[in-house]
């Protein structure tokens, strides 16, 4: 003969199980909601640019905060990305032309070091370039693909972004606009 729990204990147990189930369900729904929000969140294109520190392939380190007062061009790229090749020459040419006023930062996204170094050598890239370890910077900027280019004004605020490869003349036009913005 199976012994039954007292009626009060049974009722309390039932309430506890019910409450825990509802709590677990709510937690799961909250987690799903958070995930959906993260996935569909818009990319930042104004306001303060998310800060980051990047170590280059040469071992030098820079941070966005210490570049305040200068126009900064942040370009996300990868060696396996075909459209990145289309804009590589223009980026390098602009970085040389505006070396005194504009800082170029290449953020190598989800790439092999070997492939990245080959790409840098192939296009003779001289501006600051480093791997985005753990794709943390890409997550902060919510990039969807590569290439993507973010424009940061002298005040450290984002002044727009370009999804996809830059067309000829587009980058210089934007740089002049940012340099004029005092």
């Amino acid at each position: 003969m199976q012994e039954r729990l007292p009626v009060g204990t049974r009722s309390r147990l039932r309430t506890l199980v019910g409450f825990s189930s509802i709590l677990a369900l709510l937690g799961l729904l909250a987690l799903l909601g958070w995930g959906l929000r993260q996935t569909h969140a818009a990319q930042p294109d104004d306001g303060m640019a998310p800060g980051f520190t990047l170590t280059s392939f040469d071992g030098e380190t820079t941070s966005l905060e210490e570049l305040r007062g200068k126009v900064v061009i942040i370009n996300f790229w990868a060696s396996w990305c075909i459209p990145c090749r289309a804009e590589a020459d223009d980026l390098e040419a602009m970085s040389r032309k505006y070396a005194d006023d504009v800082v170029f930062i290449g953020v190598d996204y989800a790439d092999t070091e070997k492939g990245a170094l080959k790409f840098i050598e192939e296009y003779g890239i001289t501006y600051f370039n480093g791997p985005d370890l753990g794709t943390r910077i890409a997550s902060e900027y919510r990039i969807k693909s590569v290439p993507e280019t973010f424009y940061v004004g002298k005040n450290g605020e984002l002044q727009g972004l370009r999804i996809g490869p830059l067309s000829p003349g587009e980058l210089e036009f934007k740089i002049l606009e940012l340099l004029d913005d005092r």
Partner: protein, 158 residues
Amino acid sequence: MRRRLLIVIMTMIAAGFAAPAMGQEPAPSDDQVNEIAGDLYCPVCPNTPLDVCETLACSEWREQIREQIASGMSESEITDYFVEQYGERVLAKPRRSGFSLVLWILPLVGVGVGLIALGGVLRTWRREQEPEAANTADDSAVSAEMRQRIEEELRNLS
């Protein structure tokens, strides 16, 4: 004397041929590479295991794994390298530590709560059916008694 010298020279020549062959390790096979790549996701193609992904990027990553195996890195060292480079999302199975532990525990908790709830529902159903069964049994007992009385009454009438 001359014979000994010949043997020494022959041995040195043989050793010279054997040394590079012994020092040269065979390149890791595709199976060895895919064994590790199968536990990793492509960092850029959504939900695609690295061992079956056909993009150029994935083939570069597989080549990198091959080089890492050849350099003597263990499976966990290679996996750690990938996590450091591309984040935890490259792991096919989340780690059993930190926040990822929730992903392992949550389904078990869900199943546990589900089983408890199912047990509760089944118990309630059984309890509801027991009095009905008892009532049914009582009804049949009364009916038999009634039937007997009716039969007796009928007999008396006749």
